[in-house]
């Protein structure tokens, strides 16, 4: 049995035999073979694998956006049925509201009744987080006026501002250039550690995964199965700018890349 199956209540997220099939027009596609996976509280877990291996599906299942075809998703020891509102979800596609400016998009979570915040406090928090993601000066721009990378950062700010206890992130930094990506990784590491968040992080960039994660889960090509789970025992806090030049990093990268490359060559594309 996989490691995370000890006492369920000590797990933040637990997937027990969870699989997913999609019914398309004329046939069934097994997107995810039944898997077992657990995430401890405050743990940062990165999911890597070829595209189409069901990584995003896992995030959708944990968020409760999709019901599993088999098995059961547990969150905080309770079964997930319907939307899981304890998570913040940053999807691959930016889901900004096009009629709201950048700042108003970030603010939206603070407007909802369940976590309404006085106007002044909301403004202050929005300004602070906008600064954090380096978008000061673009607050009043509409999404259509922002570049892809900027939109991603607005999405990040929006997800972070209400401090969900668990973050689900689906290739959040795919569209950013290398420099900016490192800056964002740094911010993300600081924030998640500061606020002791649990993170499930989907990426196709192995380096990114090793830099950030406590554990990296390598998936096989479709239908998705867990191929390896590797603890990343690099000391914290990590220097995201330099860690990739350390020997420990290189070893991990090589080891995991060996696992991954067979799958990548099998999969459709990277």
């Amino acid at each position: 049995m996989p490691r995370g199956d000890a006492a369920p209540e000590t797990q933040k997220i637990r997937l027990a035999g969870v699989g997913k099939r999609f019914v398309t027009r004329d046939r069934e596609v097994q997107a995810l073979e039944p898997i077992d996976l657990s995430v401890r509280p405050h743990e940062f877990v990165a999911l890597v694998g070829p595209s189409g291996c069901g990584k995003s599906t896992i995030l959708n299942l944990v968020a409760g956006l999709l019901p599993p075809s088999e098995g059961q998703v547990w969150y905080d020891g309770a079964p997930v049925n319907g939307l899981n509102r304890s998570v913040g979800y940053m999807t691959q596609k930016d889901t900004l509201l096009p009629w709201r400016s950048a700042a108003d998009n970030v603010r939206i979570a603070l407007e909802l009744k369940c976590r309404a915040v006085p106007r002044d406090e909301a403004n202050a928090r929005v300004a602070q987080i906008i600064d954090l993601v380096g978008l000061t000066g673009f607050e009043r721009h509409y999404p259509a006026e922002l570049s892809g990378g900027m939109r991603k950062r607005v999405g990040l700010a929006r997800t972070l501002i209400y401090q969900p206890e668990t973050l689900l992130m689906d290739e959040p930094f795919g569209a950013l250039d290398a420099q900016l990506k490192l800056l964002m990784l740094n911010q993300l590491q600081d924030l998640t550690r500061q606020r002791r968040m649990t993170v499930l992080f989907v990426t196709h960039d192995l380096g990114e995964a090793i830099t950030l994660a406590d554990r990296v889960v390598v998936f096989s090509a479709r239908p998705g199965r867990i191929r390896t789970i590797r603890d990343i025992d690099l000391p914290r806090p990590r220097d995201v700018f330099r860690i990739r030049f350390t020997e420990a990093f290189a070893h991990l990268h090589e080891e995991l890349w060996d696992e991954l490359k067979d799958e990548v060559t099998q999969g459709t594309d990277v």
Partner: protein
Amino acid sequence: MSATQQATRGDTAPRTDPIILWQLGVGIAMLAAWEASGRFFGTQWTSEPSLIAARLAQWAQGELYLHFITTLTEVVTGLCIGSLFGILAGLVLGRSPLLSVILRPIIVAFYSVPLIALAPLFIMFFGLDMLPKIVLVTIVVFFLLFFNTFAGATSVDHDLIAQVELMGSNRREKFQKVVAPACMAWIVGGIKIALPYALVAATTGEMLAARRGLGFLLSDAASQFDMTSLYAALFILMMMGLAVSEIAAWSERRILRWRHAEG
């Protein structure tokens, strides 16, 4: 859309541009040519700008007011009632997949029919006064707004809704923060189309059978072969049409700033 947009946007040249002088010059030249041809060949068919201006001035003393208010009342009343119910129906049906799926062929059929052509039916039902025109405008506007709102409501990005739901929105907030603003673009687009249609519907109804209104003014002039009045009425309708499309374009720009934000 491109066509209407183009027309309403107009080509506003900078104020200092000498093109304005050219535009004025051409306008004056055309009027002069018209006037000259009237003097030369007689005014029976083409009338004359000076006669038309005089007629407009004469109407402005009193008579015009009544006709103008009549048409305006028909347009505005029909527009208000029609868009209110159209938007409501579009939102309700658009957010209930089952109903919309079943009603699809009926909706498409209604959308295909040029509803203004039903004017005689309403005149048959409701007589000569404002009521049949208001009903006609209401129905035309209702369906335009309904189709647009419906299209908007069915095309709300599910990802946006899911995102806001995950943040913990309740049903009301989901509607208020996502569905309603997402439909707004479509609703505004619908009103933009509906405004000129409303004017056409009211005018058509008045031309068919009425005792008042700009359409009546037009058909009355035609029945008496009074070309001066005919052109004068046309001029007023042209100005009304221009005003209507300007209002539509202006409010669209105001309300949908985020859509025009690109670039």
